[in-house]
């Protein structure tokens, strides 16, 4: 069972009220955490029916032409990719391929044949279909009046869209709406709790089973199918990536989200559920892959978000390669420069295939 914080995050993600940073974090969770993806799907189903109230508006006819061109281009690029699927780094070149495709795609604007009605597949869909036809088995709500009044409110909030004719004749070009697809490269870090060499570890039940996930959410064009994420996981993030680490003790309760923004050279720790006892502080540590000596990244503040500059002595590949840990220290942090209290979260990279996350857009 999920806690309310996570459920509320999923709900607000679906509703759309989160800020850009929070959406990044939710999307990282989506990719790495099948449990979170599941509650997002539930919220999509719960709230999704509201679209019924939105007035349909016919899009301009050329939208289909453009979709058709892109679809033809996409097929091409999938094939090309399958042939050269060796180097994940080549992903960076995909946008170019995609853009070039339409020009070389033959008969892209072939006249459509709306009458075409494909024959039903002879596959075992019927069971699902009959289920759907019977509709939800849930009993109808008793309180129909309430639903009517909400429907009226919804209608009042939904003024009719301007008709086609009223559209501005020269639509303002969308400023900076790059056709950028944020995709996520995922590294799943999981490992059993371990003790650090050279410091006393207070026995802590919390430190039993720990998992750290890092998701590299990449600002890059191209639609990166989720299934290939694991191939990309181990490579250094390309410029413009963001790194997100989810530090949690058990799969259902993330305690901290660490976001690294290489472009602005900042990192942000967000508290999810963890709260320190009075008089203790959480301290964040980076353990480089080559030299297993923890480097302090400072204390996690009492606020929900703690943002600070990236440490000067680590480059981004080193940061994406490193492990992270949070220890419980005396107020003000470790007096010795190394963790002295119980280490609550740590982990080592292993690859993982995300379990079919909710479609990301």
């Amino acid at each position: 069972m999920y806690d309310d914080d996570r459920d509320a995050l999923a709900a607000e993600y679906v509703l759309g009220t989160l800020s850009a940073d929070e959406r990044d974090q939710a999307e990282a969770l989506l990719v790495i955490d099948p449990g979170f993806a599941e509650i997002v799907r539930v919220w999509e189903r719960r709230l999704g029916e509201l679209n019924v109230m939105v007035e349909a508006v016919e899009p301009p006819p050329d939208v289909w032409d453009r979709i058709k061109i892109e679809v033809d281009g996409a097929e091409r690029h999938i094939t090309a990719e399958a042939e050269a699927a060796q180097s994940p780094i080549e992903e960076a070149a995909l946008p170019a391929i995609q853009e070039a495709a339409p020009q070389t795609a033959p008969e892209t604007t072939e006249e459509v044949t709306p009458e075409v009605t494909p024959q039903p597949p002879s596959e075992p869909l019927p069971e699902l279909l009959s289920e759907l036809e019977e509709g939800p088995e849930a009993a109808p709500p008793e309180d129909l009046d309430e639903s009517s009044s909400v429907a009226a409110l919804a209608s009042s909030l939904l003024p009719p869209e301007p008709q086609e004719a009223e559209r501005p004749s020269s639509p303002t070009p969308a400023p900076a709406t790059p056709k950028i697809e944020r995709s996520a490269e995922v590294v799943y870090l999981a490992r059993q709790a371990r003790r650090w060499r050279g410091f006393t570890v207070a026995m802590s039940a919390i430190a039993a089973l720990l998992a750290v996930f890092i998701a590299v959410s990449q600002l890059a064009p191209g639609l990166l199918p989720m299934g290939r994420l694991s191939h990309l996981a181990a490579t250094a993030p390309p410029p413009g990536s963001r790194l997100v680490a989810v530090l949690q003790q058990e799969p259902t309760a993330p305690a901290f989200l660490l976001t690294v923004d290489p472009q602005n050279r900042t990192m942000t720790v967000r508290r999810m559920t963890a709260s320190a006892d009075a008089g203790r502080s959480y301290e964040l540590w980076l353990i480089p892959s080559k030299d297993p000596k923890p480097h302090s990244l400072g204390l996690v503040g009492a606020e929900e978000f703690t943002t600070r500059p990236l440490p000067a002595d680590f480059d981004v590949p080193a940061m994406s390669d490193a492990r992270y840990a949070i220890s419980l220290e005396p107020a003000g942090g470790s007096p010795s420069g190394a963790p002295t209290g119980p280490v609550l979260f740590t982990g080592k990279m292993v690859e993982s295939m995300p379990a079919s996350p909710t479609p990301k857009t």
Binding site: E44, L47, V54, A74
Partner: protein
């Protein structure tokens, strides 16, 4: 409008690369998706762009569609809204002023949906929404239909953002309890 069941198997055909089926799906769903996008994005040029991205995604990901989880239109609207909201957020919410002011309730607002047009799912959701205080109903609906962030809701409704945050959380968790369909 096609039967939902037909759209389900059309999407199945799309998953196998059937372009004719894809075109049927487009024809049946385009106006709904465009309506949703236009309301959130405000600008036709932008809405058209997201239409393209959405249908390309539908083409590529039709095999992930699971009819036991959502109806085809709900699934597609979720993809479209999600992308639209990403764009609006990345823009930094800077264009609040340019956005269509959905708060100006049009005098000729469309009549409430006839009961028979409502799906059971929708009735259930509306009934749960109806149990919330009116102003909370309003923020949930405005967030869904206009794609407003907490900050925008606060600004437009002149309510402190922390209040919005609390209300949203509480409202959504109440909806969850009311609908009784936890994961």
């Amino acid at each position: 409008m096609l039967m939902q069941t037909e759209l389900v198997w059309l999407l199945g055909a799309v998953a196998r690369g059937d372009e004719a089926a894809f075109e049927r799906v487009y024809i049946e769903t385009r106006a709904k998706l465009y309506g949703v996008l236009l309301r959130i994005l405000g600008r036709p040029a932008l809405a058209e762009e997201v239409m393209q991205e959405t249908y390309l995604k539908v083409w590529k990901m039709a095999d992930r569609f699971d009819p036991t989880v959502a109806s085809p239109v709900t699934w597609m609207v979720a993809i479209a809204r999600n992308r639209a909201i990403d764009i609006v957020r990345k823009r930094g919410d800077l264009s609040i002023e340019e956005e269509p002011d959905a708060m100006e309730v049009a005098s000729d607002a469309p009549p409430p949906l006839a009961r028979r047009e409502m799906t059971e799912e929708l009735k259930r959701l509306l009934s749960c929404l109806g149990k919330l205080d009116p102003e909370k109903q309003r923020i949930v609906l405005l967030a869904y239909y206009s794609g407003w962030s907490r900050d925008q809701l606060a600004q437009k409704l002149d309510i402190p953002v922390n209040t919005i945050k609390t209300w949203l959380r509480r409202s959504l968790l109440e909806i969850r309890e009311c609908m009784g369909d936890r994961a």
